[in-house]
Amino acid sequence: MSVQPDVSIDYHGPVAVVSLTGEIDIVQAQALRERLLGAVRNEDHALVADLTQVTYLDSVGVSLMFELAERLAERQLRLAVVLPEGGLVERVLRIVNVGSVAAIHRSLDDAIADVGG
């Protein structure tokens, strides 16, 4: 059990998958920023952010997601977010309307299939 946030990066063909874990908040979000923004390779078509294991996401974490979306949009890349239903993170992301910049999926496979095609 760790609440310290972490990022792991994996590649499914031309889709970069970043899996975030733990609590992404005002104190620790900054430490994730570079790794998150650096995950996309030149050859990638899209990025999937898997937030299934994220237990807390405040406005600084939200801004990090929007910054990621902007960076991807500048390069004509797509963003999908994987969110379990009914948790705090989903409520937060709905309030700030993250759906305006990313496709929301319930499973990683769905998300990869969506943006990878």
């Binding site: 059990m1 760790s2 609440v3 310290q4 609590e23 908040d25 005002i26 104190v27 620790q28 807390y56 405040d58 406005s59 600084v60 939200v62 801004s63 929007f66 009914g86 705090l88 409520r91 937060v92 309030i95 700030v96």
Partner: protein, 530 residues
Amino acid sequence: MSSREAADRLRDLQRITDAALAYLPLEELLNELLERVVGILGVDTAAILLLEDDDSTLAARAAKGLEEEVERGVRIPVGRGFAGRIAATRQPVHILNLDEFEVVNPILRQRGLRSMLGVPLLVEGGVVGVMHVGTLTERAFGDDDTDLLQRAGDRAALAISSRLTERERGLADALQRSLIPRLPDLPAVALAGRYLPASAARLGGDWYDAFPLPDGRLGMAIGDVVGHGFHAAAIMGQLRSGLRAYALDGMTPREVLERLSRLLRQLEPGRTATLVYLVLDAHGGAFTVASAGHPPPLIHPPGGEPRYVDIPGSVPLGAARHVSYEDARCELEPGTALVLYTDGLVEQAGESLDVGLARLGATVRDGVEDLEDLSDSIIDDLLPDGARNDDAALLIVRALPMSEELTAEFPAEVESIPLMRRLLGRWLAEAGATVAEIDDLALASAEAAANAIEHAYGLAAGVVELRASRSPDHVIKVAVRDFGSWRQPRGTNRGRGLMLMEGLTDGVEVIRRDEGTTVEMFRRIGSKAA
């Protein structure tokens, strides 16, 4: 013995135990003592060697007729050679013919010594050094000679122990003071720590530490570096710093211990230490713990029986090249006392460890609520005469019961926010909120606090106050207040922060006054789904 001989002997003894010697500085006293011994016993050489801090080496400290011994800084391993044997056996040794004896110190042969007599310098039954005399011609020392030399040795030992302890005490106090941590002041959490140096006034390797982690949880450690003296204490200080560094990097207890073991092996191969490190979510009711061969923490639930935490068996830090430790997770109901200690607290000579552990359990069970008082009673019960041969450390933590209304103050810095939302979360849980309600209100309050911290004070230090209460119709009101000047939140972060505060609660009110701003948030619990 004739009356003349008896009178001479009495005079000799008086010269050796002369009270006036006490006024001399130690070096002069030892030299004067050796001078008198040479005269009284009619010997050619006399020397004093003292035990070093490592407990395994004797170093020449004063000499007559053997001055090179001191000048060259002769060092003799305990157990070897003439002086080494005296220290190891704590018995006088008499050598008639040095040619037939294993001599470590070449100066003895170079000087042409033939016969030697030596006695141990004893303080409270422990060896602090050796005093010896020698003759260039063969001499069979008698019991009277041995007796007189032992008296001179006792006089030297007395002087050495009082001067050493005086000097050591000053240094030890300074070092220990610098190593005893200032415990963090956390809302609704009580913490108390004790350190007892061994009465032999020697520094020990025990320590405790408690510090907030970036995620709002509390890191707690207690450890025991094997050995005594400044060296063990210095190693302890290095381990303590290493532990904090690894812990602040977000490592779990298991990972912290594995790295510390590697660190200790590099600092000093062969040195070992036992340690318990745990990460306590004081307001979340759980902790994660790993142990490196250290006695297990004791937990005492309110109104329940104390029990020792079941931690997987493990080896001390530094004991093996590749060690792995295990994390164990334990639940902790609010109000439970968690007691960490070192073996110096529970171990008594001639009794099994279980007896000491049972005694600690009983004292904690019958103990008072207040942790400072509880610590005092534990020390009184377990170490009524103070720590004797081993130092002892104790660290206790308890999440305090929540009151009907929550009030807490935090330094106005972002690092306060994780702790603040954990505290509020626990209060909300006790007020009957669901997990989703707790999550929403804690996040909304964290946003309000972030606003206050980023906009109320600029760069000046300040505080943020958190209050929470519940109305009879189950409406929770959380108020986050600052005492700075209002400035419109700016930047998209804070804009989204306001959005989240509004989206996660039933209502937000911002009240601006000259003396500061209060953000009030309301949420009915138990009826409305998020």
